[in-house]
Symmetry: C2
Subunit: 249 residues, 2 copies
């Protein structure tokens, strides 16, 4: 399996034809997978925003105050308002604002970016990353994964994850497979789009030298999981249930 | 960046010289990273166990009963006893047994495997995976990552993670880096050993056809994080704090 960065992609602006810009710079063999940082998808889709567009309501002001108490840092209630508007559920308010986005992704601050925003205050995640991936996948005739970088429980640091995907299922399905001794496997469903996003992140890097598009060649799809599930349902997510009832004092 | 599976590794038995078996099968260039499934490290270290070695105490019997109530499946209290003995803290008992292992890894059932156990009841994780990695790294003169596969909150399915590492730091450090507009980056510490483990898992596969050793070539280390932190401290892990106080009914 091989990963290569797509070279020389220019700074992306609203309305840019991302598929055309990519097709000019890389030959995509059938069987390869394109991983694309959500930042460039958001920029092409014009998901920039100014804080002034988010006059803070009472809930946002309350959250900003709680966050200030917890972190000792000044928090702009308009930023909290932007996070609220991008979310369907607030899971924790403090010591960090963990929410579920409209498209089902659980992350801090609804993934709203304050760096790499091209001079604007904010860069929001794509509105529907899997729909963005589907448009690009259709234009480029390969599976497309839209990636983001975020932290997680139990483990230090951040890593790449998939937030949208098209042209392939989210997981490889090992159910029914046997080990060398003929016993059924303990591991059954392998979330390959997150693993591909993590692998791409190793090549992409960050900052001014970062590269937002990475092509994966030679990935063996195998038997894919028909459910195409990626984000956990709440009923199945005990950690989320625990966080809902929890208050950090 | 390129990943290739190490071919034709035989079934590993206690006492096998894993470094020699690997060196016979693959040329390791300086700058490459070797990812090795914990199963083969455990097998070489003789971490097989029989359930009869774990007569269940009162706590293990209590946990097995709670798990039976929650899952409707029969649970062997000796298995719960094995998990207890491999752990320093029980984080949740039901609906799954989430613990911290002696070496700091948070996972279900202390990572104890019941498939791929070579005819024994259980295969435990390596006792100190980073020490195992250090021995292999020294013998092979490349960084070594010991990997496992596990589930996680918020997201469906399992993915590869690092549980031991040597010869490199756990993370790449982007602190102080700037974006194209000169703003400081939001993402600061990238846990590359987990990303490498995830990438290797894409190549390794599972089951009888699975390959436990994968070589990564062409990974650009960049500026690595001096702390070498990988597992979160409890004070820094709000999700773990929430789970401690939580009881699923």
């Amino acid at each position: 399996m091989q990963l290569r960065a797509v070279p020389d992609l220019p700074e992306i602006r609203p309305g840019d034809d991302l598929a055309a810009l990519l097709a000019e710079r890389v030959d995509l063999d059938p069987g390869s997978v394109l991983c694309l940082a959500s930042t460039v998808v958001s920029k092409a889709e014009g998901r920039f925003a100014a804080l002034s567009e988010y006059p803070a309501g009472p809930r946002a002001r309350e959250i900003a105050t709680r966050l200030e108490e917890h972190t000792g840092e000044e928090k702009d209630p308009r930023f909290a308002q932007a996070v609220l508007e991008e979310s369907t559920e607030i899971i924790t308010e403090a010591p960090f604002l963990l929410t579920e986005t409209h498209f089902g992704h659980t992350c801090v601050n609804a993934g709203i970016d304050r760096s790499n925003t091209g001079g604007e205050d904010l860069l929001l995640l794509p509105k529907r990353p899997s729909e963005s991936a589907a448009r690009l996948s259709e234009a480029l005739s390969v599976p497309v994964i839209v990636t983001d970088t975020c932290g997680r429980p139990f483990r230090h640091g951040q890593r790449g994850v998939a937030i949208g995907w098209a042209g392939m299922a989210a997981s490889r399905d090992w159910r029914g497979e046997r080990d060398r001794d003929g016993r059924e496997l303990g591991v059954t469903v392998e979330n390959v789009i997150d693993e591909l996003a993590a692998a791409a992140n190793l090549v992409a890097g960050e900052g001014a030298g970062g590269v937002p598009a990475v092509v994966v060649e030679g990935f063996e799809f195998g038997k894919m999981d028909g459910s195409d599930e990626h984000f956990r349902d709440v009923e199945d997510d005990y950690v989320r249930q625990a966080l809902r009832g929890w208050s950090h004092e």
